[in-house]
């Protein structure tokens, strides 16, 4: 980024000095990059090797071609995708109106909303699960004879466990709040809405057709991070006894190590590519970063843009 700026013509003595010194940082940066690449790509590459080079069979793609036909693959994937779609929808429906309202009409609620959305950070997933399973026990223990008992059953329906949906939305709140809030911060929401209202738009229309399109990037980001969270979630589902995708991977690991590794690699790479596409899309749309973030405020200063 900043380093791309060509050395300014005004650059006098300090710039020359930097040119002389530049070799060392570049070398150092290369070493850091190399070590990081080894550590982070190594497990992925050797996982790849592990899946195609089965001892006794030689090179084979069997663990990949077998994925689609494996028992439980489709049902667990479907459950996870359904949960992910529902989680994204509920998270957005809860957060977007609340955050827009906080910025437009009820600034005093801002702190409350922030605290509400940060609360889940204090309770680790395992502890949350312990609490949930304790609550679920109230059903048979205390409410067996009341109409409420039916609710407990519905919530735990194995076909579509609402309890997982609720837990996932709660777990997604902190990250979703941050992402959406940052997106809203980059907009001049008051002016946008006022302009829309002055042009005769109704309130719903101003929000739906003016604010939301401007929030597209933040909404996409939120949706994607939530998707990643649900795809990888293991703790709550496994302890409560459901079998979405991540739990399925572990369960086949016992009988078919190759396949569980190949599924893991595929899902990691797929998520990474998706996120990369998202980053590229975000960059294409907003060529300039929001004010006051990265661009050095005093660009004209004769600088060594190299920060190293």
């Amino acid at each position: 980024m900043a380093a791309l700026t060509p050395p300014a013509g005004t650059a006098a003595q300090p710039a020359r000095e930097a040119a002389g010194r530049r070799h060392r940082p570049r070398l150092w940066r290369g070493v850091v990059g190399l070590i990081a690449a080894l550590y982070f790509l190594g497990p992925l590459l050797s996982s790849l090797l592990f899946t195609v080079d089965v001892p006794g069979q030689g090179f084979t793609l069997g663990s990949y071609s077998g994925i689609l036909g494996a028992a439980g693959f489709w049902s667990s994937l479907r459950l996870t995708l359904e949960l992910a779609a529902a989680t994204i929808a509920v998270t957005m429906l809860l957060l977007v109106p609340a955050l827009i309202a906080v910025r437009l009409t009820a600034p005093r609620l801002r702190v409350l909303v922030e605290v509400l959305c940060s609360l889940p950070l204090v309770v680790p997933a395992v502890a949350l699960t312990a609490g949930i399973s304790s609550v679920l026990q109230w059903g048979p223990d205390d409410f067996a004879d009341t109409p409420l008992f039916q609710t407990f059953n519905t919530v735990q329906n194995p076909g579509f466990p609402v309890v997982l949906l609720l837990a996932y939305v709660l777990m997604a709140l902190p990250l979703a709040y941050r992402t959406l809030d940052a997106g809203l911060r980059a907009l001049d929401l008051t002016t946008l809405v006022e302009a829309a209202r002055n042009c005769g738009a109704s309130w719903p229309r101003a929000v739906l057709q003016v604010v939301l399109p401007n929030l597209r990037g933040a909404l996409l980001n939120t949706g994607f991070l939530t998707l990643a969270l649900v795809l990888g979630e293991y703790t709550v589902a496994s302890i409560l006894g459901y079998q979405p995708f991540a739990v399925w991977i572990v369960s086949i690991g016992g009988s078919n190590a190759q396949m569980s590794v190949s599924v893991s690699v595929l899902s990691l790479v797929l998520t990474w590519v998706l996120l990369l596409l998202l980053a590229a899309a975000g960059r294409g749309r907003s060529a300039r970063p929001p004010r006051g973030t990265r661009t050095s405020p005093a660009a004209p200063a004769p600088t060594l843009q190299e920060k190293s």
Partner: protein, 317 residues
């Protein structure tokens, strides 16, 4: 993502939705329009579902933990009554070992994560290749958030008993085992270092180049610049990163469960064990007492993190 984080240094900076737009003088008078005042009630209405949701979905389990941790377990001899036995049991014996093991592992990996994450983030931030930066940050986002099970299997395939590296380099003979404290630490770093990169990148971005020039113009060497200028400014961010990493490692369950089963004593594994009924009858509520222990520690971590994050916003812009 990073720009998003960078743009949000201090969430509670104040309700300045107008100021955020950045039009110091020409801003339309905010209180002018009656059309904006009208839906004040609507504002409450829009926030209400969120409040109700958190109260129910967060409140009920939290209430259950708080009360049941102090009650005898269902099925315990002598009926149900209030007790502190669960809590005292949760900080003794095997449970204490697990708690201590979790704290040790989290502190160690968080410290190493900070030490490794900083140079990596710095190398990425100062890189000339924008694509490299985007790629690394996107990958960090995936690894830091997605981690868990796929990560565990990638490491089993690499460094497990029949992993590629273990077989290739015959590591087993040298005493290496993935299913140990050290092994788990190596795996944890795989998602903690990216988390550190994500956390510290906005701070490094905000470290304005004028500071460096000023230092150099005053004759400071690179070492002096880092020691006396950059690191003191980054210190709150670094400590905040440490606390965040600690919390993340402390709460991690999936990775450990998929790799070691229960051969390394960790608090999360113990809670899951107790919940799955692998304890003596009538002791189920120990899981809730352990959860309470965890929440207390996580609460302390958050209480440390928030002021550090605010402070780190002061110098960076």
């Amino acid at each position: 993502m990073t720009t998003a984080h960078a743009a949000a240094p201090s969430p509670a900076a104040g309700p300045s939705s107008q100021g955020a737009g950045g039009r110091p003088a020409a801003a339309p008078a905010p209180r002018r329009a009656g059309s904006l005042r009208r839906p004040r009630a609507a504002g409450w209405l829009a926030v209400l579902p969120l409040i109700v949701f958190v109260l129910v979905v967060f409140g009920l389990p939290a209430f259950a933990i708080l009360t049941n941790a102090f009650k005898t377990s269902p099925g315990a001899p002598g009926g149900r009554h209030w007790t502190t036995a669960n809590l005292s049991q949760s900080v003794h014996g095997a449970y204490l070992t697990a708690l201590w093991g979790s704290v040790k592992l989290s502190a160690l990996t968080a410290a190493i994560g900070v030490l490794l994450g900083l140079p990596l983030a710095h190398a990425v931030v100062t890189s000339r290749f924008r694509a490299l930066r985007e790629g690394v940050l996107a990958a960090s986002g995936v690894l830091a958030n997605f981690g868990g099970v796929p990560l565990a299997f990638a490491f089993v395939a690499t460094l497990g008993n029949s992993g590629e590296l273990t077989r290739g380099l015959d590591l087993g003979k040298h005493g290496w085992s993935l299913y140990s404290f050290t092994g788990l630490a190596v795996v944890y770093l795989y998602f903690l270092v990216p988390l550190m990169v994500l956390t510290i990148t906005p701070a490094l971005d905000g470290l304005s180049s004028q500071l460096r020039e000023a230092a150099q113009n005053n004759g400071a060497t690179t070492r002096q610049y880092w020691l006396h200028v950059a690191l003191p400014i980054l210190a709150p961010s670094l400590m905040g990163g440490f606390v965040l990493l600690f919390g993340s490692a402390f709460a991690a369950y999936a990775t450990a469960a998929a790799i070691v089963g229960s051969s390394v004593p960790l608090i999360t594994l113990q809670i899951a064990n107790a919940l799955s009924g692998n304890v003596l009858a009538g002791q189920g509520n120990v899981a809730l007492a352990l959860s309470l222990d965890m929440i207390v520690i996580a609460g302390v971590v958050m209480a440390l993190y928030i002021p550090l994050q605010r402070r780190s916003a002061r110098w960076l812009h």
